[in-house]
């Protein structure tokens, strides 16, 4: 089985022009929304719409049929027409040089025997026409390098390195919402729909070779051929990290078991083992899936499991130490030379161990300096930094209160916010310089996303984790992938 050709992939993800077939004048209909979203996000290529009755939609004249399209101007047709109209539509599109179709129409494999037969026929037709067929029954396709937002739902994510494919269109939206929230962007996003022709592994293989993509993120429910799926995702993870969220693992799997082994062989355990063997990262939840992908996209891989914690918030440091151990990482013992080096920077009330708790002993430059000391040390593979934004939180209280800007408040507010911005930049710069992951976490990332700390972390292009345990969970996923590669000499 061969997947789509390079030219067909280009037609889907980098089309020169797009036509929305079955565009509607009613702003509540998919055919309207799809056109709206393409235009709304300034797709730079040619955009056409068809509507049997013609007329104007969003200020442009709709064509009565695709036969009116200029030759070779359009690579992608976004199909919002009823299933019965689609065979003729695809033939006409192919005649105009269209090489890819994204089909939103329902009434196919999800709709009984008749639908399955229509789906089979559509796949066969697309193959005959040399046309890539995505969907049917999907929500759409996003490609930020091409400024393409061809989907019947929001949002349009910022550009970035995460490529998304999902068997549930809803999760494409959810992952993109997280991209908007965290600022860690998306290269391609596609709802596989019924995946009648182009399947999830097809998309993943494309992502693994796509220069715009750093990490693949997939949601799957059913897998038709487990063995083939395993072999193909194993190829994907050779090249790039793959985060694989699986739904429906707890259903079924009941076996008539004559043995202990048989009784223990639940679908979930076997799927889990398959993922580990293939080097795929398997998150437990939707947000964990996104954060793992976002971390792969924005942090270097750790070379080992040894984690240091740098904190100005004592309790957070302690629970983070617990989380590190639980996640299968190691809380390193602070080496003597590193302890001595930090001693030179701080009065003696700091923790003198890992977590490195500054205990309020820091002055203007302490945090960037100590961070650099820790991250540069050979015994450290990764760093979790806690306590950013605390002073900016106080600054916000001052700025919004009745005493501002008098009594010296203006100056101290600016100082606190500048400091948190420095710390965020230091975490990114030192991580880049040492090629070690440095993850910054604070609940302010969600409690007050406009706080100078989280805002500045996002400005560096990295995630500001909403809690340290979430940062540690993401880091553990990176470590396991790094270990998988190391053990196999990759």
């Amino acid at each position: 089985m061969t997947g789509p050709s390079a030219e067909q992939w280009r037609a889907l993800f980098e089309p020169r022009g797009v036509v929305v077939a079955g565009a509607s004048t009613h702003p509540g209909k998919f055919g309207f929304v799809a056109l709206h979203n393409i235009l709304r996000h300034d797709f730079p290529g040619a955009v056409f719409a068809t509507n049997r009755e013609g007329g104007d939609i969003l200020g442009r004249r709709a064509l009565a049929t695709v036969d009116e399209l200029p030759e070779g101007a359009v690579d992608l047709v976004f199909v919002c027409t009823p299933a019965t109209a689609n065979p003729e539509l695809l033939k006409s599109c192919a005649a105009k040089g269209v090489r890819a179709a994204f089909v939103t129409s329902a009434g196919y494999g999800e709709a009984g025997d008749e639908g399955r037969e229509a789906e089979r026929a559509l796949v066969e037709l697309a193959n005959e026409l040399g046309m890539l067929l995505a969907g049917p029954n999907g929500q759409g396709v996003v490609s930020t390098p091409a400024s393409l937002c061809a989907q019947i739902v929001a949002p349009y994510p910022p550009p970035g390195g995460i490529a998304i494919v999902s068997q549930s269109g809803n999760f494409v939206s959810s992952f993109q919402n997280y991209a908007v929230q965290t600022g860690v962007g998306v290269s391609r996003a596609v709802s596989a729909g019924n995946a009648a022709a182009v399947t999830v592994p097809d998309f993943l293989e494309y992502f693994s070779e796509d220069r715009e993509t750093a990490v693949a993120l997939a949601y799957v429910e059913g897998i038709s051929d487990g063995r083939a799926f395993f072999e193909r995702i194993r190829g994907v993870t050779r090249r790039k990290p793959l985060v694989l969220l699986k739904g429906g693992v707890t259903t079924g799997g009941q076996r008539a078991a004559a043995s202990h082994t048989g009784a223990l062989a639940s679908d979930d355990r076997i799927f889990d083992g398959m993922c580990r063997q293939a080097g795929a990262t398997r998150p437990a939840t939707v947000e964990e899936a996104f954060e793992a992908a976002a971390t792969f996209a924005t942090q270097p891989l750790p070379r080992g499991p040894r984690v240091a914690v740098l904190t100005t918030a004592g309790g957070w440091g302690v629970v983070t130490a617990d989380a590190v151990a639980r996640a299968g990482l190691q809380l390193l013992r602070l080496p003597d030379d590193l302890r001595a080096a930090i001693d030179d920077k701080l009065p003696p009330r700091w923790s003198r161990n890992n977590p490195v708790d500054l205990a309020g002993a820091e002055t203007r430059d302490t945090i960037p300096e100590v961070m650099e000391l820790i991250a540069s040390h050979d015994a450290v593979d990764a760093l979790v930094y806690l306590g950013i934004g605390i002073q900016s939180n106080q600054a916000r209280l001052m700025r919004t209160g009745p005493f501002y800007p008098d009594h010296g408040l203006e100056r101290i507010v600016a100082y606190h916010e500048r400091q948190d911005e420095r710390f965020a930049r230091a975490a990114a710069d030192i991580s880049d310089a040492t090629r070690k992951p440095i993850l910054t976490a604070t609940e302010l990332a969600v409690a007050d996303p406009d706080n100078a700390g989280p805002r500045a972390v996002r400005a560096t292009g990295r995630v500001c984790y909403a809690s340290s345990n979430r940062a540690v969970t993401a880091l553990a996923h990176l470590y396991r992938y790094a270990r998988f590669r190391q053990r196999r000499g990759l």
Partner: protein, 221 residues
């Protein structure tokens, strides 16, 4: 305990198959009478404690039914234990014999096995074994064929890592030897498509090395 179209081999046959595949098993004997059991026990060493079990294709749930006698020592006790398990046999058990095996000491019991998953095909399992294996459920699976590194990863996946270090005066588990068992099961599953499932439980850690003390192989019709 057989499903349509499959049958389980007796413990002794199962272990011979496993031994042939490279899984360490004990030097054990299957005999027909209590007197032969006494000879078999003597052959394992003068006055060495032995295990006496009922053995046959239809025999399952041995422990629950009292068909396993541990630490039996001396001619009289071996004869009595053998007679007792033979007397406890029911017609459902089919043709039966007495299995006499050396008594091994090891406080750690692991489990290893093979299943054929409808979606992913043959898989090898390893985990914490013993009669509570299913309740503890600390196991890891991989798809056949396993590479050495996959088997090593599987051991790392298990929660009870402390069991693999030194425990109660016993040396650490020889991970390489355990990996060899898993690789042997992987080869068996690959080379014998008729093997539907394998259950090695307990895989007792004796002086750090895993030994299959019980085994059950299910083959297709």
């Amino acid at each position: 305990m057989t499903r349509t179209g499959t049958r389980t081999l007796s413990e002794h046959e199962s272990k011979r198959l496993l031994a042939g595949a490279g899984v360490p098993v004990l030097d054990e004997h299957v005999v027909d009478t209590p007197d032969d059991a006494v000879h078999a026990a003597r052959s394992l060493g003068p006055d060495a404690p032995v295990v006496v079990k009922l053995c046959g294709e239809g025999v399952a749930h041995k422990t629950e039914r009292g068909l396993v006698r541990l630490g039996v020592r001396g001619d009289d006790d071996v004869r009595a234990a053998s007679q007792a398990v033979l007397d406890a046999a029911t017609p459902d058990d089919g043709p039966v014999g007495v299995l006499v095996a050396p008594m091994v000491r090891g406080s750690r019991e692991l489990i290893a096995g093979v299943v054929r998953d409808p979606q992913f095909g043959a898989c090898v399992m390893v985990g914490i074994g013993g009669v509570l294996a299913e309740a503890i459920a600390d196991v890891a699976f991989r798809l056949v064929p396993l590479e050495r590194v996959d088997a090593e990863d599987m051991i790392d996946d298990l929660g009870a890592q402390a069991l693999f270090g030194p425990v109660r005066g016993e040396p650490p588990v020889d991970r390489g030897a355990l990996v060899d068992v898993m690789l042997a099961l992987s080869r068996l599953a690959e080379g014998r498509p008729d093997v539907v499932s394998v259950d090695v439980n307990p895989l007792v850690v004796v002086e750090g090395r895993p030994v299959a003390v019980d085994g059950l192989v299910e083959v297709g019709g």
